[in-house]
């Protein structure tokens, strides 16, 4: 095998890099040095695999995903150090994400020092350890690689090598403790950071909050678990922003998108704009690829938020007097013990009926059939013929449904699936829907040159946990155009609540939704819906604000949630100025606060 200079340099760099990182990061050895855990997301060269941290809370870790749209992706590879030579048993933590009477879609193999193991991986139901085989390994540095076989979303969480024959634990809780032990992680993060304000979630709401607070002089940490800002608006998910600017045109113009079709690659340009605007603020410290995993409260005051790097596993404990939850799923509030709601309330709970649409609008009895999550996708016409493999594992979901692009209607919700706890299953259902429908489309004459151009692997959620504030925003606030003394958000957009199409027509696929629109005049969201009722120093902006299921239907779009973000950013600045908690802004400093909100567009930022 011939190597060119670049290859040699690349390997030297890798070995040097490993020499630095092995003692610290996500490759852990036991005390006897005859066992080793390698977290897949920490691979130095990820090849065509991507880091997926969306489901850490459910399956335990970020993982590598071979998202190749049906074409095997390039190997992910890294190096590891063996301290004690021996015959090692090897396991890979993986999953067959579409089990059934067919070949698993996400198959891959493992290579060590370029020797490929025959065991096909990604073939076991449910996340667990799959045995790979044995390898005689000498003391020293070795290379390991994941070789994708399908391009259909094979996944690898971690690799474990041990001279012992006992596999790692399967039980998620035991596994979590075992992991800490093997990786020799201290109980708490050793790196500590202090800020005036910690914002978790870098969607439009989180970014707006960061700008508003930073302009008022606060030192802000913005923690986001992706490499790009924007959340659902980012180039990774590609939903365009909707709603009006309210009092925050200047700030939101720095963050929002044009009205291109959902799924458009034009979203990437907006990512660049958004990031460069955030970077103009020296007092916003941006933590991209950091995912919060805990928030600790004492006497209903959050003390800190812990976050972990999605690839290296580094951890930081973030201290601040104030926290803003812009995670969408309300994670900070959830961990801190904030009161929250989930599900569709009964129609009578807040009096939210719309007789015209009855049960599909608001049910007589409460349930969990909330609005679903979308995965956007698109295809293009190539100059040459493009093949697309059979996807037997998708056909039970799609039947004979065919499509060449996906829009917002590609949405999945089911009463027994929780939008947070079952998010991976929901995402995977959408992947089956997309690949299956595209396969059917490809079978039509004339579509020989049609090829998948992009399929997101991130789910764009509409609804999940809603943290409870001093005011729960409902449909009646909207339809009655209630003006509050603390109206900080203004919107004119219809109330737009979705339901699954197959609820009315069982012949429709279960992954398509429909929207019900209730036309309204201008409506307002009060500041009291943007801080927690029981966690004293927690503000929130985004879909996790304090509202009912139907109340969310209007203000859930991203310019509106951006307004919420800006509003809580300003509130945080008054909290700092007077050393008070968010509720006191309303109780004692409302006039000053509203002046600040209403003058936002007149502010001139001089970096």
């Amino acid at each position: 095998m011939a190597y060119n200079t670049n290859d040699i340099l690349k390997w030297i760099m890798r070995i040097l890099f490993l020499a630095i990182i092995i003692p610290y990061f996500f490759i852990g050895a036991n005390d006897r040095n005859d066992a080793l855990l390698i977290e897949a997301e920490s691979f130095i060269d990820k090849g065509g695999w991507v880091v997926d941290p969306q489901f850490v809370e459910q399956m335990g870790s970020p993982y590598l995903l071979a998202h190749g749209l049906g074409r095997p992706v390039q190997d992910a590879q890294t190096s590891f150090q063996i301290y004690k030579k021996g015959e090692y048993n090897i396991w890979v933590r993986t999953i067959d994400w579409a089990p059934g009477n067919w070949e698993a879609p996400g198959r891959f193999q493992l290579k060590i020092d370029n020797k490929i193991f025959p065991q096909i991986l990604g073939t076991r139901k449910g996340w667990d350890w799959q045995y790979v085989g044995q390898a005689k390994l000498k003391k020293g540095v070795h290379q390991i690689a994941l070789a994708d076989l399908t391009g259909f979303d094979g996944r690898c969480d971690a690799i474990y090598l041990s001279t012992n024959e006992e596999p790692p634990p399967s039980d998620p809780e035991v596994l979590a403790d075992w992991r800490k032990q093997v990786l020799q992680l201290p109980e708490a993060p050793e790196q500590l950071e202090q800020f005036d304000l910690i914002i978790t979630g870098g969607g439009i709401a989180g970014c707006a909050a960061a700008i508003a607070a930073a302009e008022q002089g606060l030192n802000v940490a913005l923690i986001h678990d992706r490499p790009v800002l924007g959340g659902n608006a980012s180039g990774e998910i590609r939903v365009h922003t909707l709603g009006i600017y309210g009092h925050f045109r200047r700030i939101l113009k720095m963050l929002d998108t044009e009205h291109y079709p959902n799924g458009s690659p034009e979203a990437h340009e907006e990512d660049i704009k958004r990031l460069s605007n955030i970077k103009k603020y020296d007092n916003i410290r941006l933590y991209l690829n950091w995912r919060a995993y805990d928030a600790h409260a004492e006497q209903d005051i959050i003390q800190y938020v812990d976050a972990k790097h999605t690839s290296t596993g580094e951890r930081i404990r973030f201290f601040a007097p104030l926290f803003i939850d812009c995670t969408g799923d309300g994670w900070i509030g959830y961990w801190a013990g904030a009161k929250y709601m989930y599900g569709r309330e009964s129609v009578d709970k807040y009096g939210e009926s719309w007789e015209k649409h009855g049960e599909i609008w608001s049910p007589e009895k409460e349930d969990n059939f909330i609005m679903g999550a979308s995965v956007l996708w698109r295809s293009i016409e190539l100059d040459t013929v493009s093949n697309f493999p059979e996807v037997l594992w998708a056909m039970e979901v799609v039947g004979d449904y065919a499509a060449e692009n996906g829009e917002w209607q590609w949405e999945f919700s089911r009463n027994d699936l929780h939008q947070v706890d079952d998010a991976e299953q929901i995402r995977d259902h959408m992947l089956k829907a997309i690949f299956g429908s595209f396969y059917n489309e490809k079978q039509k004459p004339g579509n020989e040159r049609l090829a998948l151009e992009w399929v997101s692997y991130l789910i764009g959620k509409r609804e999940s946990r809603r943290l409870i504030g001093d005011h729960i925003y409902t449909f009646n606030d909207i339809r009655n155009n209630v003006k509050f003394p603390d109206s900080v958000v203004v919107e004119e957009r219809e109330v737009d609540v979705h339901y699954q199409q197959n609820l009315l027509d069982p012949g429709k696929p279960d992954f398509l939704s429909e929207a019900l629109f209730y036309q309204v005049d201008r409506y307002y969201v009060p500041y009291r819906s943007l801080y927690s009722k029981n966690i004293g120093n927690l503000l929130m902006a985004g879909r996790c604000f304090s509202c009912s299921h139907i109340g969310l239907g209007g203000p859930r779009v991203m310019r509106t949630t951006g307004q919420m973000g800006a509003a809580v950013g300003y509130a945080a600045s008054l909290c700092k100025k007077y050393n008070i908690l968010p509720r006191e802004v309303y109780q004692k400093y409302l006039e000053e606060y509203m002046r600040l909100v209403l003058s936002s567009d007149q502010y001139v930022h001089n970096p």
Binding site: V239, H240, L242, H259, Y260, P261, N262, S264, E355, K356, H357, G358, E359, I360, P363, E364, K365, D367, F369, E407, W408, Q409, R414, N415, D416, R493, E494, D496, N502, L503, L504, P506, E514, A515, L516, F517, Q519, V557
Partner: protein, 286 residues
């Protein structure tokens, strides 16, 4: 222009007077119970409550309304039928008065079929649009504006209406699916009895069944559980999900009732199963 349109509308109003009473021959007995104003508020159309020879109730109205685009108004006449829950069921043209498109070209049979499917779709995108919003002025983004979060595009509207009869379809949809539903429901409830209840529950239209179910008392579930099981067998996901939540827990303390549910378990959709699961004890493949 508006004055001109009003004059035209008034002219049509006067000319239509002679059409009153030209309904097709009826084999049912009816009497007027409600009034449905036309969209232009020019006409007040009586709505009749009827019983046919099979003893089934329904409502109908001979709708008269003017439909205007930017330059022209025309009179639209249509006989529209609703069920006891105020849901549109069908329409008939009045003798010698076909619907027309592109000014005065009569509807084809395909056009009538399209109109039927549009009017029966109570969640049609037309319900979300004002008349001014029907045409997409921003031609440069014509197909790019597919945007379910805010509303529809011209493309979506186009696919929802009879080609060449945009305003007629729009107007008729709002008459068939607008305020009339609430008015009819109120009237039905004012006459509610066992016969009406049975007709509602035996409907093949899920929203109508649910309207019937919403007016059942708890006793019915215990005493007429066989009928509830029949509804569950009918298998509509919306009805079944509603029933799964609505059936009183006590009903499942009766073994016979649990067995009935277990026998049809596999015909249920996942949403319905997710609610009923707690009542099922057998080793079903849940």
């Amino acid at each position: 222009m508006k004055v001109y349109l009003r004059v035209l509308a008034l002219g049509l109003f006067i000319s239509v007077g002679v059409l009153e009473g030209t309904h097709t021959r009826q084999n049912y007995s009816c009497f007027p119970v409600l009034e449905l104003p036309s969209r232009d508020s020019v006409f007040l159309n009586p709505v009749y409550f009827c019983e046919n020879s099979m003893g089934e109730y329904f409502y109908y109205a001979n709708i008269k309304t003017t439909v205007c685009n930017d330059t022209l108004c025309q009179l639209v006449l249509l006989k529209v039928f609703w069920d006891l829950a105020g849901n549109f069921t069908r329409f008939d043209t009045l003798q010698g008065k076909p619907l027309t498109k592109n000014d005065h070209i009569p509807f084809t049979s395909q056009d009538y079929e399209k109109l039927h499917y549009t009017l029966i779709d109570e969640t049609s995108i037309l319900g979300n649009k004002t008349k001014d919003e029907l045409l997409d002025k921003d031609r440069s983004r014509y197909s790019a504006k597919i945007d379910g979060v805010t509303g529809a595009t011209a493309q979506e509207i186009k696919s929802a209406v009879v080609e060449g009869a945009l305003y007629s379809t729009y107007t008729l949809w709002h008459l068939a699916n607008g305020t009339i539903k609430g008015l009819i429901r109120k009237h039905t409830l004012s006459r509610y009895n066992d016969k009406i209840r049975q007709q509602l529950l035996k409907s093949d239209n899920p929203p109508t069944i649910i309207f019937g179910l919403k007016n059942l008392d708890e006793k019915f579930y215990y005493e007429q559980f066989d009928q509830i099981v029949d509804l569950l067998k009918f298998g509509n996901p919306l009805v079944n999900f509603y029933l799964a939540k609505k059936i009183p827990e006590g009903v499942f303390t009766i073994q016979k009732n649990r067995t009935s549910i277990e026998e049809i378990w596999h015909s249920f959709d996942r949403n319905t199963q997710s609610i009923l699961l707690k009542y099922i004890e057998s080793d079903l493949d849940k």
